[in-house]
């Protein structure tokens, strides 16, 4: 796999700026149309939005995961508040209850934790698989060298 190039990094920044711009426009539109729901929603999704601003991973993978997890966790409260609350204060009280905020933010934390832990797990699993493969290859090589009287010295592997 080739390392990301400078060109790719620049295009990633443009995308991020574009996403932020669209998000700001969307938020502004929602504030204009329904400010009583938008503000508590922003509070609920705040970790994801912050992550969106600071995420440097290619394709904003981390922010995407956090936002999707938060969105999934926030669907239920927002649906209930959509028909039950009225006014900014009422919606804030209904949506920004501590347990609700904590649940949504924990979903964001879970997304972040998964994003950090899955590579480690994958790495551990891959390493075990490759170690087995390397052992098999070395055994096969030794058998071939011994059976056919080939040159004992293996090719020097290049270290990355």
């Amino acid at each position: 796999m080739k390392p990301p190039t400078v060109q790719k990094t620049r295009s990633g920044g443009v995308v991020r700026a574009l996403v932020c711009l669209l998000l700001a426009l969307g938020t502004g539109a929602m504030l204009a149309l329904s400010p009583d729901l938008t503000v508590p929603l922003v509070v609920l999704l705040l970790p994801g939005l912050v992550t969106l601003l600071i995420d440097r991973s290619p394709g904003l993978g981390l922010a995407r995961a956090v936002l999707l997890f938060q969105a999934a966790a926030a669907i239920g409260p927002v649906q209930r508040a959509f028909y039950a609350c009225a006014g900014l204060h009422g919606c804030m009280e209904q949506l920004c209850r501590p347990m609700t905020v904590l649940a949504v933010w924990l979903a964001a934390a879970a997304a972040w934790a998964l994003t950090e832990l899955v590579p480690v797990g994958l790495r551990v699993w891959q390493d075990a698989r490759l170690r087995t493969r390397r052992t098999d290859l070395q055994a096969r090589r030794a058998a071939l060298v011994s059976e056919w009287g080939l040159d004992e010295a293996p090719a020097e592997p290049r270290r990355g």
Partner: protein, 653 residues
């Protein structure tokens, strides 16, 4: 402890067994003779005469004489037998001598006894031999036997070595006597008549007429005065005998009476052939330490002192003496022409002087043998000379090599020193081609070709008499038990090449060209071919040696399992003593190709493994980056899935 043979030798000619513990002194005419027993009583008494390793038996005579010949120790067979030292020896089986040697009975024979007991029976025997195109060439007192007083004499065996090999100079014409003993050639029946004449003279006077004289003195006397005068000087003999012997000892073979004529002694005595006496000079010419008075003796002196002869030829002393002292202007002119040609040579070589002397001797006396560097040889005596040269005489080897390599003999024969052109014997032509072929062992091959009954001269086979390839293989089988390195050296290779049929000769040429690393391969293949061609039985010790010898061949296989299986299989095959499956196993082309293909596949596979291992190490870091990206994608996918599920849950009633 004497060496013991691995196999019992079969009886010679199917019936004769030799007892080497019972020697028979004097019976072999100078060669060791032993009692030969036959279970068939009708065979009568026989003796076995041992062949010397450097003296080739007369194979032509052994082949042509099939029936018993009266008054002759007739050959009855030949073959291998046990030697006194426990090894092998080659024997010629002959009828036993009827009594003691005539030389053991010192007496003067009467004229009548000489005619009836010596001349007539011997003439009949010579006539029989002549009808077979054979000569005897061994008529001398210590090879002639007498059964009892009044009985005809019996000629001894003459088949065990080259013709006239043991003849003293007295019993040979001077031209034959000056040749190397083994190079006197078959000669003609007139040479036997000559020897018979000298024998009769010895018996008539009861002693040797030239006792106390050296061979050179006898030869010189015969050349200077004529044979009859030289051997009968100071003797008083009856007129009949004098006339008869003077004819039998004539210088020209054509002037001697034939055996047929000798059956009628009176007619033989009456036969007179006019011959002019040789011209003599009053003033001698000195060549070396010899003073010569006639042309024949001059030729002999030039043969004996080649260096002085060259000086005398080049400074004109010889031609001057011939013209002024001898009055022979014709010969002097020919000698001058030879010397002039020699002086005018722009690029003389080391053979120029030898050629000058050779042609000068031939001009002085055309009956002289080929004289080359102090060695005189008859063309049909080359095989005997070759045998002695190769096995004993280093100087003779170089002379024989020169004679063959530079066409000396064929040119001498073809140009006709006496004005007659003589055909070159086929054996000489063959040997010339071998020596001139440039093969390092050309001389050895020529020796083995010319002497088919002589054994392989390799020192390792000194206690054996190996004359053919099957015997060689059996001998190698015994030697293989203790051999460490190569068994087939250059000498044995030359023996194989010479004793094999010409058609197969090419099979063994590669062996002669191989050296060093590839020698084992050619050696093993040659042995396999020989065992198969000659259908020699099992050779277990040789097979075990071949297993050791084939180790490089086994090691050259790439696959270890194949090598191990092959080594085990070779051990099994070696016990059977058959070389062919062993060699075929190691040099199997199809299996070898499969082995090479397998090795190439293994190399390719190892290269692939190395590349994969290197790739694993190389992609370690990149893999972790990619893994992070894929994990975020996976988590994103999981989040999207959860979102969809919750949305569906919210929308669904």
């Amino acid at each position: 402890m004497p060496p013991t043979l691995s196999t019992a030798l079969p009886p010679i000619a199917g019936r004769f067994t030799v007892d080497p513990t019972k020697p028979l002194p004097d019976a072999g005419g100078g060669l060791p003779a032993f009692l030969a027993a036959s279970p068939n009583a009708a065979d009568g008494g026989h003796i076995a005469i041992a062949v010397a390793r450097d003296a080739s038996p007369r194979l032509d005579a052994l082949h042509r004489i099939r029936d018993h010949i009266d008054n002759l120790m007739t050959p009855s067979g030949h073959g291998l037998g046990p030697a006194a030292d426990g090894g092998e020896a080659y024997y010629i089986i002959c009828t036993a001598p009827p009594g003691p040697l005539v030389s053991a009975v010192p007496q003067r024979w009467s004229e009548k006894a000489l005619v009836e007991q010596v001349l007539k029976p011997t003439a009949r025997t010579l006539l029989t031999l002549q009808s077979m195109r054979l000569t005897h060439r061994a008529i001398r007192p210590d090879n002639v036997f007498l059964e009892a007083p009044g009985q005809p004499i019996t000629l001894g065996a003459a088949w065990t070595g080259p013709p006239a090999m043991l003849q003293p100079a007295l019993f040979e014409t001077p031209y034959s006597a000056m040749c190397a003993p083994v190079a006197r050639g078959e000669g003609v029946i007139a040479d036997d008549v000559y020897a018979l004449g000298v024998l009769m003279l010895c018996l008539a006077i009861g002693k040797s007429p030239c006792a106390g004289m050296t061979d050179d003195e006898i030869i010189r006397a015969k050349l200077e005065y004529g044979s009859f005068v030289a051997v009968s000087r100071g003797l008083r003999m009856p007129g009949f005998l004098t006339d008869l012997l003077s004819g039998m000892l004539a210088e020209d073979p054509d002037h001697r009476p034939s055996p047929q004529l000798l059956l009628d002694p009176n007619a033989a005595r009456a036969r007179r052939v006019a011959s002019s006496p040789p011209r003599r000079s009053h003033d001698p010419l000195t060549i070396g330490d010899m003073q010569v008075f006639d042309a024949r003796t001059l030729a002999f002196a030039m043969f004996r002192s080649e260096r002085r002869a060259v000086q005398a030829l080049r400074n004109g002393a010889i031609s001057d003496w011939l013209r002024r002292g001898l009055g022979n202007a014709g010969v002097a002119q020919q000698i001058e022409e030879l010397a002039r040609r020699r002086r005018s040579e722009t690029r003389p070589d080391i053979r120029s002087d030898a050629k000058l002397v050779m042609w000068a001797i031939a001009v002085l006396d055309p009956r002289m043998p080929l004289c080359w560097r102090g060695l005189a040889v008859r063309p049909d005596g080359m095989e005997g000379l070759m045998a002695v040269a190769v096995q004993q005489d280093v100087r003779a080897v170089s002379i024989v090599y020169e004679i063959f390599a530079h066409d000396v003999l064929s040119v001498w024969l073809a140009r006709g020193a006496d004005g007659r052109t003589r055909p070159v014997p086929p054996a000489v032509t063959l040997c010339q081609s071998l020596v001139q072929s440039g093969l390092p062992d050309g001389m050895l091959r020529a020796f083995y070709l010319m002497n088919p009954l002589l054994p392989c001269a390799d020192p390792a086979l000194a206690d054996r008499w190996v004359i053919d390839v099957p015997a060689l293989l059996r001998a190698l089988d015994d030697l293989a038990a203790t051999a460490k390195e190569a068994l087939i050296n250059d000498g044995i290779a030359a023996f194989i090449a010479a004793r094999c049929h010409n058609e197969w000769d090419r099979l063994f040429d590669p062996l002669l060209d191989q050296t060093g690393a590839d020698l084992w391969q050619a050696e093993a293949k040659t042995l396999r071919q020989l065992q198969a061609i000659y259908r020699v039985g099992p050779l277990p010790q040789l097979a075990a040696w071949v297993v050791r010898r084939l180790r490089p061949g086994v090691e050259s296989w790439r696959n270890r399992t194949t090598r191990q299986e092959m080594a085990a299989r070779l051990q099994d095959l070696a016990r059977a003593g058959d070389l062919r499956p062993m060699i075929d196993l190691v040099f199997d082309r199809e299996r070898r190709q499969a082995d090479e293909d397998g090795a190439r596949s293994a190399i390719d596979e190892v290269a692939g493994i190395d590349a994969e291992l290197a790739a694993i190490a190389d992609n370690n870091l990149l893999r972790s980056r990619g893994m992070r990206h894929s994990s975020t994608t996976m988590v994103g996918g999981l989040g999207l899935s959860l979102l969809i599920v919750h949305l569906l849950g919210a929308v669904a009633p």
